[in-house]
């Protein structure tokens, strides 16, 4: 059985003082974070919060201020060499439309040293994607399957998924994550996902980052989340008493009051009502509403 203790290996991704300006506007305000190997990281935030900009900085797609190291290299300077060991799917399917599937595989075999065509073909078994098909004739779901098959056939150390299931129906989304977990994730691989559908991946994550207006307002392991944050369905007569303990969020609906507490002992909260762990979406809403002070 594997030891759950953290090793002191170098982090896969490391950012210090990551800033990004577009013209005069500062989009990212000096982010600091490390992503250790073997984790499944979620990055959640509203549109325009800076998720994609952060990812772009990590993938060498954009310049930035501060320091970013991915697998020990500066991604902006070394994007091409980094992409041997980093794979990413960004947003909408972007595979070359004019190629046939087998032509795409042949191309990848020749330009990507870590692409295994046999594996990619294997991942396509059981799908409707045929080798002779032209990519532009595939449905959106099939392109997503193909892109995932390609990415999973690359022996990468870091896989970055930027809204990978956007616009896909539920069957494809389930299949997508199932495939990832079943056939791809190992202790040596690290996964970084951004998505709006937080609930879908909540239990897959080992760590979570919330980003709001270019700042990281939460960065912790999922285990820590469940021990630090509590949600209470407060009985009406206890609302005042509960409020005195300083919830970070409170919402009353149909006469029921739900409150979220940060760092308050569960035993103390039990007297007010049912205590549960907030879901990530509940927590997200709670933290997004809060003012800038942490």
């Amino acid at each position: 059985m594997n030891d759950l203790a953290q090793t002191t290996a170098a982090p896969i991704v490391s950012a210090r003082g990551l800033r990004k300006h577009f013209g005069r506007t500062e989009i990212l305000h000096g982010l600091d974070f490390d992503i250790p190997a073997g984790r499944i990281y979620g990055l959640v935030g509203h549109n325009g919060a800076g998720k994609t900009t952060t990812l772009n900085a990590l993938l060498g797609l954009t310049s930035y201020e501060g320091t970013v190291r991915v697998l020990g290299e500066d991604p902006y300077q070394k994007r091409a060499s980094l992409m041997k060991n980093v794979a990413f799917i960004s947003d909408v399917a972007s595979l070359p439309r004019f190629l046939r599937v087998r032509e795409l595989f042949a191309l990848l075999t020749n330009i990507h040293p870590n692409f295994d065509q046999a594996k990619a073909r294997g991942f396509l078994e059981g799908t409707d994607v045929k080798m002779e098909a032209r990519i532009k004739n595939l449905s959106k779901g099939m392109i997503a399957q193909l892109h995932l098959a390609v990415v999973m056939a690359i022996d990468a150390k870091l896989l970055v998924l930027d809204e990978p299931t956007l616009g896909l129906d539920i069957t494809y989304r389930k299949r997508f994550y199932r495939r990832l977990l079943e056939d791809y994730m190992t202790e040596e691989r690290t996964l970084l996902i951004t998505t709006h559908q937080v609930d879908e991946i909540e239990f897959m994550l080992s760590d979570i980052m919330f980003i709001r207006d270019g700042e990281l307002i939460l960065h912790m392991q999922m285990e820590t989340v469940s021990s630090k944050f509590s949600q209470v369905l407060v009985r009406p007569d206890q609302v005042a008493a509960a409020t005195a303990l300083g919830p970070i969020y409170s919402e009353t609906r149909f006469g029921q009051t739900a409150m979220v507490f940060d760092g308050v002992d569960r035993d103390r909260l039990a007297q007010f009502g049912d205590v549960t762990t907030p879901t990530l979406s509940d927590l997200f809403v709670a933290l997004m509403q809060r003012g800038p002070a942490k």
């Binding site: 059985m1 759950l4 199932r178 977990l181 239990f203 994550l205 549960t276």
Partner: protein, 119 residues
């Protein structure tokens, strides 16, 4: 999506499901249990969480990990699990039930008799 309740940690809930499989003898001693990867994919859960669930069962000697082959129900595992669950029931759940009966002013002996009759 909400196949897990929100009051217990996920690894505990997964551990209980695996324990159920063993208790009900769906998986017998010496037989293979689903792999970490398999469970992780089936439930869309982080593999580390599944590992943790299995670890808790390994710690009480119910499950053993065989190198390169996966997780198996240990010899005598069923007995050990039964003993463990009984212990847990008697120290945690049973006292709670008794307290509740007392609070509702119900006589347990009466209940058992009635329960038997109405069956």
């Amino acid at each position: 999506m909400s196949q897990f309740n929100d009051s217990q940690p996920i690894f505990v809930q997964i551990g209980e499901r695996i324990a159920d499989m063993i208790l009900s003898k769906t998986t017998k001693e010496g037989e293979a249990l689903p792999s970490v990867r398999q469970i992780s994919a089936d439930l869309s859960v982080n593999p580390l969480t599944v590992t943790r669930a299995y670890q808790s069962l390994v710690d009480i000697g119910v499950v053993e990990s065989r190198r390169g082959m996966g997780m198996f129900v240990a010899e005598g595992g069923h007995q050990r699990l039964l003993a463990h669950e009984r212990q847990k029931f008697l120290t945690e759940e049973w006292p709670r039930v008794m307290a509740r009966l007392a609070a509702l002013d119900l006589d347990p002996t009466q209940l058992l008799k009635q329960g038997g009759k109405d069956e």
